[in-house]
């Protein structure tokens, strides 16, 4: 997951790597995703998110559709 200056930079990178454009997040979405994913990582009782928990997090961040399908 990389940071780019703008969409045309993403398209240039994708072309250089012969990849289709994937999914684009705003930095705000990236922060929400990172916060939801890692906020408990230092808790001694931390455990991996369940499938349902992760789907809920992705949906909260607005990441829906085939690209984000985990099943």
């Amino acid at each position: 997951m990389l940071l780019f200056r703008a969409e045309e930079h993403i398209d240039r990178w994708c072309a250089a790597h012969s990849l289709a454009r994937g999914a684009i997040l705003t930095p705000q979405q990236g922060w929400w995703l990172a916060h939801g994913w890692y906020k408990e990582k230092l808790n001694p009782e931390w455990r991996r998110h369940t499938l349902e928990e992760t789907e809920a997090l992705l949906a909260e961040v607005g990441l829906t559709g085939t690209f984000w399908n985990l099943r």
Partner: protein, 167 residues
């Protein structure tokens, strides 16, 4: 069997539920993440072995167990810890500075995950994946208060762990 997810999302249907992770693997996980958070340095097997007073071979075994459960990522050749996500063991293009310490993430998601895990303010610096121009984001008080650019996920979520280094 409960479905659990790896740190980056892939569904795991293994028997590696928290209840079956043995005590040493748990101790290694706790020590490793606490040290990484406190020092900004991800400890390797020898340091963990000395701290927990176990043979280094047992620590390697525990690290492999944690890697299998995708709690952390081992380097492909030497078995060192590459990343105890969100903390990367080696400098990368994704830096998070907080309270005078420099942490590294393996990607922009993990760089943002560092202040999330620490619960601290941080300045994230990274480079445009295309033109290498430096960029920055700032987390303060649990909020993103300054940012620029866009984040791109090249690989669909279901395939992130096919090649986590590229992802």
């Amino acid at each position: 069997m409960t479905a659990y997810l790896s740190p980056h999302g892939t569904v795991l249907m293994s028997a590696l539920t928290p209840a079956s992770v043995d005590d040493l693997a748990r101790d290694v996980r706790l020590y490793l993440f606490r040290q990484a958070a406190a020092t900004a340095q991800v400890p390797q097997a020898q340091q963990i072995a000395e701290a927990l007073e176990h043979p280094v071979e047992k620590i390697h075994e525990a690290l492999r167990q944690l890697a299998t459960g995708k709690v952390l990522i081992l380097a492909p050749n030497d078995g060192d810890v590459w990343a105890a996500n969100p903390f990367c063991a080696v400098p990368s293009g994704f830096r998070a500075e907080t309270e005078g310490k420099i942490y590294w993430g393996i990607c922009i998601w993990d760089a943002l995950g560092i202040p999330a895990a620490l619960g601290k303010d941080a300045r994230i610096t990274a480079f445009c994946g295309d033109c290498s121009e430096p960029m920055s984001l700032e987390i303060r008080g649990g909020k993103l208060v300054q940012s620029e650019g866009l984040i791109h996920f090249a690989i669909p979520a279901h395939h992130w762990w096919d090649n986590i280094g590229f992802t």
